[in-house]
């Protein structure tokens, strides 16, 4: 019985704070995306004629983002009958957008006119239990030119 109570408390804490954190993060991301809209960013650039520019530099943005207790629980349930895992999709989406924003912000500070050949790299930091997804690390990188 006690275990069940602890579980329900953890679950509701996870849900409450998780939803709150996610909403806040999305708001922040949207705001910063609006601010950095002026900088052109593209994933092509390789196997193409080099752009006209006097300066080029590599910029990297990283983020490690954790799932919450509720999401982890939903994932465990989802594993039973499969299908889309919306809670993890939003987690990855947040992480990728955040990492890209960090690249853009650094590039803007440097005075970039464009960021080319952006690539992502994703990996997980295994959780304590059976290597479950505890946290996701995302690296976004690209070449800024000016």
């Amino acid at each position: 019985m006690e275990e069940l109570i602890i579980f329900v408390v953890l679950l509701s804490v996870g849900y409450f704070f998780g939803v709150l954190a996610e909403k806040k993060h999305y708001k922040d991301i949207q705001k910063r995306e609006q601010e950095t809209l002026s900088l052109a960013i593209s994933s092509f650039g390789a196997k193409q004629p080099l752009p006209q520019a006097s300066d080029a530099q590599l910029f990297v943005g990283e983020v490690v983002i954790a799932s919450d207790y509720f999401k982890t629980f939903v994932m465990a349930l989802r594993n039973l009958w499969g299908g889309r895992v919306l809670s993890y999709e939003s987690l990855l989406d947040r992480g990728r957008r955040e990492a890209l924003l960090r690249v853009k912000e650094q590039a803007i500070a440097w005075g970039a006119t464009e960021v080319l050949n952006v690539r992502y790299e994703t990996s997980t930091i295994g959780g304590k239990k059976q290597g479950g997804v505890g946290a996701i690390e995302i690296i976004a990188y690209g070449t800024a030119i000016r």
Partner: protein, 104 residues
């Protein structure tokens, strides 16, 4: 040292290729950060400590790559890519590689 993910350096000409240079680090998380992380795992959100750790590790991998390029007398590294993999429980590798070139 000029670093790019493109196949050359804009506004410059590649004179010589020196082949692939690479750098990697394997890092493990530390206990202090882990306690904070397990708490964060409850409520979700960014793990700042881990982000810093990733940043340091990535910087070190890049430094090693740059060092290797310097030894070859290169002044730029083009077509840089990063790759990550989990080596063991709680440890991860970050790997940076690119082509060392001489540009003018």
């Amino acid at each position: 040292m000029i670093l790019t993910t493109l196949e050359g350096v804009p506004g410059k000409e590649i004179l010589e290729h020196y082949g692939i240079v690479q750098g990697s680090t394997v890092r493990a998380k530390n206990v202090g950060r882990d306690i904070g992380a397990s708490f964060k795992n409850l409520v979700g959100g960014e793990l700042k400590g881990y982000t810093d750790l990733l940043n340091e590790a990535r910087q070190e991998a890049m430094d090693r790559m740059v060092l290797q390029a310097k030894q070859l007398n290169a002044n730029a590294i083009v077509n840089i890519r990063f790759s990550t993999s989990s080596v063991a429980q709680g440890a991860a590798e970050i790997f940076a590689y690119g082509t060392a070139v001489l540009v003018r």
